[in-house]
Symmetry: C2
Subunit: 362 residues, 2 copies
DNA sequence: TTTGAACCTACAAACGGTTGCATTTTCCTC
DNA sequence: GAGGAAAATGCAACCGTTTGTAGGTTCAAA
């Protein structure tokens, strides 16, 4: 590969002059010299070596991206991370930055932190890190530009971008309550993710505010997967008093709920209302189409990338979490609760009973 | 940030010795010296600079990944590329390689090629490049390790990994034919992608071999998207003689077909059989579940990454395309053609007529 | 005590750029 | 033609490593 010296020799000038021309440097260069150099570059197929430039300029033009590695060493590219990634790539690409996946699994600050000091990236973007990890506090000590996406919402000591899940969950639960549902179940997301924690907390709060009890049997754990959603929903729908509505922590869990409902011949939405969070394409593939909380992932990813690039360029950025508002997308998966009980339950009294009965169960 | 010299000074040794210790170098080092150095490294939080190492060793431990940028400057992370990416990341991660997205749009060999000479990556993985682009031939001239995923299948002059779409399509069409379908429509994928081209070609061949004509009205273009599938399917289903089966070039197109069918009250599979390609999760979200060709993307991505890493490590790799076999996953979206015509059509004769009529149309 | 082998360690030259400063050239002006 | 400012270019140090070679220890055997 041709180096800057090859070009310089070819033109009979020094490497400094070539560098100056290549970078449209501060010093004026005689037009004929410039032309000669540009031609030599073309002829020799010269392109500056990124690593040498990185060394000299102390700037890599690369950002590192880390996808929250929840209790596994595997990076997971799901619909969520793909959406964020896409948005980040578009912003980074426009500004001439590369995006590198950090593939090394996080094994705790002591062991993993030093690898981030290797000067490979100008900054890091951490997406949905586990809340019980020491990752973010540790990374902050490096004093390298850092932006978190969807970290614990009440953590304010880092530059972060997130969706106002708290508000979104309120909207969803209010929707179900206003339809008349009282026996509402929740299938939670991964316990180590901030989003799941918020959704569960706000769910409970809203129910409490509405004076509707939430028996333990109606809150089941899952890991943001269809399979887990299926298992949980099956359990819920086979309860002596099944819920009339299920709040699934994300679309994929909802897909599992649909599966279980179909298997148990529970009709959505007449027998069971379903709401979820994310509004990934799959919510439209499901039949009936899923009522879900639209999460503006593209905005989140773009803004996160912008905040990171600003920091890298030396622009001061406010040290707080920036929130985007989600929106409820009403589709076809919710309805008023069916007063006729499903065959699996007592055929008298129906949900009316369920509600009354439900209250003291708490 | 601490450098190797800081460590060396701290211990009163030379940088060479530190380097030797850090890399478990070839030269023996006295145990107490080693211990002293390791402690200093710990104390100073030293980590070797990746760029300096890259310069000195002429090895970046990074692979570049390019997602086929079809007629747009935007990188698209869809279900397909996400699956490949995930597989690549897992292999690369295990072997200590980083993965960088090449964000610069490809503007032709003349303009874009030199950027790949910047020494940032040890090799490149190109996923589903457009068939009408000069990208691959140009990249090959660089003599940098290169692996293509899903390039034009009949191109044999590069190391490539692909799925035997030809065989897969045969299986799908045979399935439809053996069910008794004769009026089979095809909604094609993006015209600039090899996968789409193969699927259409083999579709036509198989139909020809079976002696079943394929009128032009039954082959409609789409761009591997739900929306395009919806538009095309609507057109097909409103034909005077609608098809009894649709071969969608991928799952997302099939999702559009489902949408159109639901809107037009066409029942799947009794009125219309649908088959597609990919077997992404969405094929199970659809109702009825989609019969589709399972594409082993994880194997493809992993193998592609392995071939690339082998080349980088200097192992000779055969200069050909390696194929993986797809498998038909029979689910619920196909059935024998319904002899009773849909209301939109003549109620006498039904598909029998359609077949007979269809023949001379060719 | 010398000697040679076996070990360690340091020096310095890359790797391919950038950049402040010094130097040369060019072009005016008097 | 001399003088000087401005413009153009060159020199050399530096970015943080690796690595070949040379030099310095240590130690046992002679």
């Amino acid at each position: 590969m041709a180096t800057i010296y090859d070009v310089a020799k070819e033109c009979g000038v020094s490497s400094a002059t070539v560098s100056n021309v290549v970078n449209n440097g501060p010093k004026p260069v005689r037009p004929e010299t410039r032309k000669k150099i540009l031609e030599a570059i073309e002829r020799l197929n010269y392109h500056p070596n990124a690593f040498a430039q990185g060394l000299a300029k102390q700037k890599t033009h690369t950002i590192g991206i880390l996808f929250g590695v929840v209790d596994s060493a595997e990076i997971v590219i799901n619909a969520y991370s793909a959406a964020i990634l896409q948005a980040v790539l578009s912003v980074a690409g426009c500004q001439g930055y590369n995006v590198t996946h950090i593939t090394a699994p996080w094994k705790g600050a002591k062991e993993s932190l030093s690898a981030f000091r290797n000067g490979r990236c100008d900054g890091y973007l951490v997406v949905a890190p586990p809340t019980d990890s020491d990752m973010i506090p540790a990374l902050r000590t490096l004093e390298i530009p850092l932006v978190t996406v969807s970290w614990l919402p009440d953590q304010r000591d880092a530059v972060g971008v997130d969706i106002d899940d708290s508000h979104g969950t309120e909207l969803l639960i209010d929707h179900l309550l206003s339809l008349g549902h009282r026996r509402i179940a929740h299938i939670t997301g991964h316990p180590n993710l901030g989003s799941a924690q918020v959704r569960e907390r706000v769910f409970r709060t809203q129910m409490l505010l509405a004076g509707v009890p939430v028996p333990n049997e109606l809150v089941l754990p899952a890991h943001y997967s269809q399979h887990d959603g299926y298992i949980a929903a099956k359990q819920l729908l086979q309860l002596p008093e099944p819920p009339t509505a299920i709040f699934a922590a994300n679309d994929e869990i909802a897909a599992g709920v649909y599966e279980a409902a179909r298997e148990l011949k529970v009709n959505i939405p007449t027998d069971l209302s379903v709401v979820a969070v994310d509004d990934r394409p799959l919510s439209q593939y499901l039949s009936p189409k899923l009522t879900t909380l639209h999460q503006p992932f593209d905005q989140v990813g773009q803004y996160a990338a912008q905040l990171l690039l600003q920091q890298i360029e030396g622009i001061e950025v406010e040290n707080k979490t920036h929130y985007f508002k989600p929106e409820v997308v009403l589709r076809e998966s919710t309805a008023t609760p069916n007063p006729i009980l499903r065959p699996t339950s007592d055929s008298n009294g129906g949900n009316q009973n369920a509600i009354k009965h439900g209250s003291p169960t708490q």
